[in-house]
Subunit: 383 residues, 2 copies
């Protein structure tokens, strides 16, 4: 009798589909057959000063453009001196020299948001009230930029760590506002809209506007319900869940989203949801730092409704079809096995399809095993 | 009278569409208003030995799997000891636990192709006949793997340089053969097929099978015809053109393709086209090394017809609809301004859309200005 092999997702190569982008990731779990031995390197101390006279983001210091920062106490926002997009007027490109060579005009603005006056802190070491002030700034800039004439999209993101090409460790993020919706969120919105028009049987998950199904409400509801030792949920609180998505590309990629109701954007958060957002951001970033006892590098981006309506037309949220977007954050960290071993997206991944060895379930289990007390704040660790 | 501003692609931010992927790249040329001063760092000498007793790719040495390399004289191919995909049998995954969590089985094989016995050489320093032998190996493995039962796609690629995570400098590439077509070439094929079904007026460009228009025949024909000081062509020979595509993401990205006739795959090359392929590969990689006087890092991938027909059905090439693919190579190099300043695809680019400062036209001009004599082979440079 022929032996039948049973499929084991932590043994057999397979591909998983990302329904947000409609692209696959190749999973090669047989390449990680070593047991996980946990952290072996000593914790990295923070050698950064609380204030750096050379840092253009520290309070009172001069920026590249010549202006001087206020002596701010919480957050501070300013326009980037080297913005990737510029305000109008923006001359229209000439007709395409060939139908395959098309140019689209674009304009907008780029803001820098300093998270805190302390040069040496990060989201992982800020207090929850400090993080809530950052969320409030994100809401303010999203509303302000998003209601400007011709701004079609506001991308809030953070790029953290020298490994991600971020040259300044002072805690800060960026906000790029554009007259066009960029490719990746555009593709996510297209796929979410398509999903909302399909026939999804009741699952107990919340629904989007007009009672239509929401891909991320369905997905988060399933993951929270299926949560187990084999699952992908890292941590959840009253409103938010952090999970390693089924289709994750980066070894310890995390998606963070509200799961109790359909939330189109950060502007739609209730005060309680705003507080629990700060709480889970703190918990996720602490776990990240504790994973390899280092300041964990990542790119983080907020995907949501591209902009709010330019003017209030009195439409209730659940009647506005443009609320089909579901607020979520992507964390894309490059670290793989230790504070110094990183994943490169090159070769086959650049030319064909992303590939990972560690399964999302294994990554989630490792993040679940991490403490929510930051390693630098534990007894016996000297800064 | 209001002053009218004329659009200048080297001054005004804009977006360009990549018709192969249907995704945009954001171009911010105003951020490179500095004049190009050319190379300022001294040329990097090569410190590598011709033979390294520790290298698992050098002739006669032992590999990780325990096997010993032959004392090969030209190229050598072997199956990767740590393959990302495995040969069948491959158990079928169970039904999806939720419609959004789909798994697709995948199998196949991964080969390593050593380009040359010399540990210290690269494509840029191999002779044209040596490169032609590599092309012949690519053709052999493409035919062999591609006609294996259930293999749907053969991806030939090279990952060069520590900056690209390549740990061994011994000149080599890889070939991953899969039972499924990966996301990126799949998307390119979909868009090329769609284009072939549109109504494209005669342009003088070659046509694909069944007399239908081919996106890359049209594009290459236009670029070669428009070639000028402002153009994107880097170098061309009798059959091949190397250009910085209109929609390039990487600073010095290059696309290499045949422009005189529609060529679906490396198996379809005439002997003359094979020789001119080796010639232009040598010229492009020499220019790359000369740009910053260093061994230039990149990922290179060959995109073509996914596999040849499993058996000869006697259909002429120009009647076979699956010949819609047009053979082309992508070179994705990370270097930006010098041998040590790289571009990172992070932050906005990871979360929203690729972005570049230098325009493709400026990049092409710099590559055109490079010599085709390798800097290590010039008088006065000591190895
Ligand atoms: Zn939702
Ligand atoms: Zn063609």
């Amino acid at each position: 009798m022929a032996e039948t092999i049973t499929f084991d997702p932590s043994t057999h190569p397979h591909r998983r589909l990302n329904p947000l982008t409609n692209e696959y990731v190749l999973v090669s779990p047989h390449r990680t057959k070593r047991p996980w031995l946990g952290q072996t390197e000593p914790p990295q101390a923070s050698n950064l000063p609380e204030y750096d006279p050379q840092c253009y983001l520290c309070p009172g210091n001069a920026r590249a453009g010549g202006q001087r920062n206020e002596t701010y106490n919480n957050t501070m926002i300013f326009e980037n001196d080297f913005a990737a997009v510029l305000p109008p007027p923006c001359p229209a490109p000439p007709p395409a020299p060939h139908p395959l060579l098309t140019t689209e005009p674009v304009h907008g603005g780029c803001d820098v948001l300093i998270f805190h006056p302390r040069h040496d802190l990060t989201l992982a070491r800020l207090s929850v009230p400090d993080i809530e002030r950052i969320i409030e700034e994100w809401r303010t800039v999203y509303k302000k930029r998003g209601t400007q004439e011709d701004i079609a999209y506001v991308q809030i993101f953070e790029n953290k760590g020298a490994m991600m090409g971020c040259s300044n460790p002072h805690p800060h993020g960026q906000v790029w506002s554009l007259s066009a919706i960029p490719s990746l969120p555009g593709s996510e919105l297209t796929n979410m809209r398509r999903y909302s028009l399909t026939d999804v049987p009741p699952s107990g998950a919340p629904r989007g506007p007009l009672g239509r199904p929401c891909m991320l409400c369905e997905y988060a509801h399933f993951e929270v319900g299926a949560s187990s030792e084999q699952g992908r949920v890292v941590v959840k609180n009253d409103d938010w869940v952090a999970l390693v998505p089924w289709w994750a590309i980066w070894p310890f990629e995390v998606m963070l989203l509200p799961y109790k109701r359909h939330v189109p954007s950060i502007a739609h958060l209730t005060p309680a949801e705003k507080s629990s957002f700060a709480d889970i951001l703190s918990k996720v970033t602490k776990r990240y730092d504790n994973l390899f006892s280092c300041s964990f590098a990542y790119s983080m981006g907020i995907h949501q409704r591209p902009v709010l309506p330019k003017e209030d037309v009195g439409l209730p949220d659940d009647q506005d079809e443009d609320n089909i977007a579901h607020l979520h954050l992507h964390f894309s960290p490059p670290l793989l096995r230790s504070a110094s071993v990183r994943k490169f997206l090159v070769g086959f991944e650049l030319m064909a399809e992303p590939q990972r060895d560690l399964t999302p379930e294994q990554a989630a289990a490792r993040l679940r095993a991490c403490s929510e007390v930051h390693y630098l704040d534990r007894d016996g660790v000297q800064e």
